[in-house]
């Protein structure tokens, strides 16, 4: 069994199984920087929320996979990821941690821990399950 680093909602079933280095994007500037670097296709993008609306340009420019730390598959970002057919795992939590996202009462440390643990790791997204999307270590 491959090493599953994190799990969350699978936004849509797909056999696409993109792999790349996780890149945490904290702001619009990070997205602009990534697009300008020409290396968008090498990264699985990690963002904080389903409400992170600054990701749209990255999706339209060909992002290969997305992980969010909050938000539901019915959110704006979920709808966009299905439109662009970009595999997306939402409200991911670390399999090695007990910390979970709770709407409205999630400590900052929850997000920091996920960003710290996943940023820079080489991973593959497994989005074949109906419910659960998995972030697998490579």
């Amino acid at each position: 069994m491959a090493d599953v680093l994190a799990e969350g909602y699978n936004v849509f079933d797909t056999k696409k199984s993109p792999s790349g280095t996780v890149k945490y994007l904290a702001s619009p500037a990070d997205v602009i920087g990534l697009i300008q670097s020409g290396k968008l296709g090498e990264h699985i993008l990690l963002v904080r929320g389903g409400t992170t609306t600054f990701l749209a340009p990255a999706l339209s420019m060909g992002a290969i996979g997305v992980i969010t730390m909050s938000g539901a598959p019915e959110s704006h970002l979920g709808i966009l990821s299905r439109e662009f057919q970009t595999p997306c795992v939402m409200t991911a939590h670390l399999t090695g941690s007990d910390s979970r996202y709770v709407v409205g009462s999630t400590d900052e440390s929850h997000f920091e821990e996920i960003a710290r643990e996943l940023d820079g790791k080489k991973v593959r997204l497994d989005c074949t399950d109906d419910e659960v999307g998995r972030v697998v270590a490579l």
Binding site: F12, D13, G71, H76, E83
Partner: protein, 206 residues
């Protein structure tokens, strides 16, 4: 730290850029009451001021855009924020918005034996049902759009854009339901929602 407030036409241009996340002057001019040349000149000035960058022929907002828009909106839309009738309509919008998101997902995916699979759009009856639900939901925004347009006429553009998308869908162009690259119902709705939140100085709920 003091945040710069913008002149109204600059607000209008930067606001649309921030809503679209990435756009060229013609796309912005299509929804603000300015010529493409004027928009282009204002984008250059906004870029010089550090509020936007131009990359690959399109402009993107920088991290400085959001604070400047928020500061400007709190000045120009102060009367909107105390309009009790309008705020009542905003409460209703939150419910309608949740229904819209569910309906959009139902357009993209269908439930087959408890499992969500991509809608292959072969069931015309199902699709028509979703489309008429969308029409009803869009219709529920009329009062709010009118109330906003009484404060700032630019909001009326949303009614025009929704109308054009629905007309296109009725004419068989189903990409106008949820396509992120065209002026679809989802695109217009999303921009309207973001615009509304900025106008009111509110944050998006998770």
């Amino acid at each position: 730290m003091t945040v710069t407030t913008l002149a109204k036409p600059d607000y209008d241009v930067l606001n649309v850029l921030a809503l679209k996340k990435m756009a060229g002057a013609p796309a912005i001019a299509a929804v603000v009451d300015l010529s493409a040349e004027d928009v282009s000149a204002r984008l250059d000035a906004l870029a010089a001021g550090g509020f936007a960058v131009v990359a690959g022929g399109a402009a993107l907002p920088t991290d400085s855009a959001e604070p400047a828009l928020a500061a400007t909106a709190s000045e120009i839309y102060a009367p909107v924020r105390t309009d009790a009738d309008l705020l009542g309509l905003v409460e209703q919008f939150e419910k309608t918005n949740a229904q819209l998101l569910t309906t959009m997902s139902a357009w993209q995916q269908v439930d087959v034996g408890g499992r969500k699979v991509a809608n292959d759009h072969t069931d015309a009856e199902y699709d028509e049902k979703i489309i008429s639900r969308l029409e009803r939901l869009v219709g529920r925004l009329d009062g709010l759009i009118d109330a906003l347009a009484r404060h700032d006429p630019r909001f009326a553009t949303y009614a025009t854009r929704f109308g054009a998308a629905l007309e296109g869908i009725d004419g068989g162009d189903h990409d106008l339901v949820s396509s992120p690259t065209g002026d679809s119902i989802h695109t217009v709705w999303f921009e309207f929602h973001e615009d509304l939140l900025r106008t009111l100085g509110r944050e998006r709920a998770e």
